[in-house]
Amino acid sequence: MRIGIVCPYSWDVPGGVQFHIRDLAEHLGGLGHEVSVLAPSDDETVLPPYVVSAGRAVPVPYNGSVARLNFGLLSAARVRRWVHDGDFDVLHIHEPAAPSLALLTCWAARGPIVATFHTSNPRSRAMIAAYPILQSALEKISARIAVSEYARRTLVEHLGGDAVVIPNGVDVGFFARAEPKPEWQGTPDAPTIGFIGRIDEPRKGLPVLMEALPKILDEQPGTRLLVAGRGDEEEAVAALPAGMRERVEFLGMVSDEDKARLLRSVDLYVAPNTGGESFGIILVEAMSAGAPVLASDLDAFAQVLDAGSAGELFANEDPGALASAAVRLLRSPAAREELTARGGRHVRRFDWQTVGADILAVYETVTDGAASVAPDERTGLRARLGLARD
């Protein structure tokens, strides 16, 4: 099958959507499909052979923050050329409800189009103003995929219609096979807790964990907290009593390999995120690596953890609940083993084997008997006038 995938965000900026598209393209390529990815990127960036550059994304203020987007006639022309040259059986676009390359593709192409909705953006003002145009472009999508039941619900509320839920994929084997690192492993007296995420992004929840830490250390004095992620380390521990600061170790940004090794080593992985998550890939990665997971009870997290059976949940933004759940788990190796076992069984549904097969099933459903993808030749004005005179 010839598959064209459109990435909405710059290829050279790391992000969840980009990683998802990279893994999907490589998985499908490995199965013998012809895959081409259209993505914004700087001219200097070295791209994998399957990625075609759509030009540099321009930073513009949008919806309260600066977004890097592609738009304009030049980008549209590049999209058209890519669609024309690729002669795809199916197009798979990502995040079509944002003003991005995906929306542009939707507008410039016709044929079987599959769209994945990753985030659950609340409806923006610009979207309401552009609704008639957006609507006619989104109407071309033959199949919608939402990454979680939560994302599907927001999609249904904002845009109407329906979508199938296919979770994001994880290379389970990569995490399961990683080698634990002795200095990150705990002992019964000095267990280790792991946290991965931006330190200075409050929604990732490190402040909640910092507030809970004194209580955890009271009950379990040997505990060490390992924090991997970018941000100001001094500021992060400022709220802790001076004597406790040395119990927190900052690892900075870690590579994919080190992330896997960290998750393999820790006795407990804590995800205290306070909001803004539509999936929670890190929880799946932690479960793949066999780490017992303790997470806030966000809708998205509760779903990934199978309502608390594959990982423990605590009341969101409640340091007390976090501390008592963490202490209970750190004291009971049996409970942690149980969580590891259940998590290990649960993650199989997120493995690329399963997720890739489901995505291919969607492609096959929409391409059955349909014509292939082609540039959408707009009806010329004269043809329209001809029609209008009828």
Binding site: S142, V165, T365, T379, L385, L387
Partner: protein, 190 residues
């Protein structure tokens, strides 16, 4: 000559309205084509599911009672009249759930010669039916929203195309066959 100016203005406005209406008609046409394609895909998936169910029912790997229940449901689904189709397909879903309710039953079918392949095919088809149905109903919803609009009704832009109807059925797959999937595809509303 004010009358000529007025006439020109009227002509311009009519022209613009015409262009807009023709654009809307094009949109509607595309939506109808999408529904046709989605309906064809849904029919294909339903037929595939009924065929594999019938194959399993006659293969002799199930007990006689299960075989009869499954055969009857699959036969009814395949031969149902258009108006009875939703009911017949829902009954096939129920029959499949009843027969493959337990993991042991699925394991027994897998163990039979060629059973691995047949179970795989059945699992794929019970997963794809809800997918195809969701895509179909999504297209129907978009077309209905546009067709209810004033401009479409007043100018009869839809022509003689029948008002699109959603395909409503119970498409919940048997739990042991759906296990490998994510959390999706289990809801039955559409």
């Amino acid at each position: 000559m004010p009358t000529i100016t007025t006439l020109i203005w009227i002509a311009v406005v009519l022209l613009l309205v015409g262009v807009y209406l023709s654009w809307t008609a094009g949109r509607l046409d595309r939506l109808h084509a999408r529904i046709d394609a989605a309906r064809a895909a849904l029919d294909a998936q339903l037929l595939r599911r009924a065929s594999i169910a019938q194959e399993l029912a006659t293969a002799g790997v199930l007990d006689p009672a299960s075989s009869m229940v499954l055969y009857q449901a699959a036969h009814d689904a395949r031969s149902a009249e258009e108006e009875q189709r939703e009911v017949a397909e829902s009954e096939l879903s129920q029959a499949l759930r009843a027969v493959f309710e337990e993991d042991e039953q699925v394991a027994a079918v897998r163990a039979a010669p060629g059973g691995e392949e047949a179970t795989g095919e059945l699992a794929a088809s019970v997963r794809r039916v809800p997918m195809a149905r969701r895509f179909h109903n999504d297209a129907v919803r978009a077309a209905r929203a546009l067709r209810r609009h004033r401009k479409v009704r007043w100018f009869r832009l839809a022509g003689h195309a029948p008002f699109p109807l959603a395909f409503e059925m119970d498409d919940e797959p048997p739990a042991p066959l759906a296990e490998r999937d994510g959390n999706g595809g289990r809801t039955t509303h559409g």
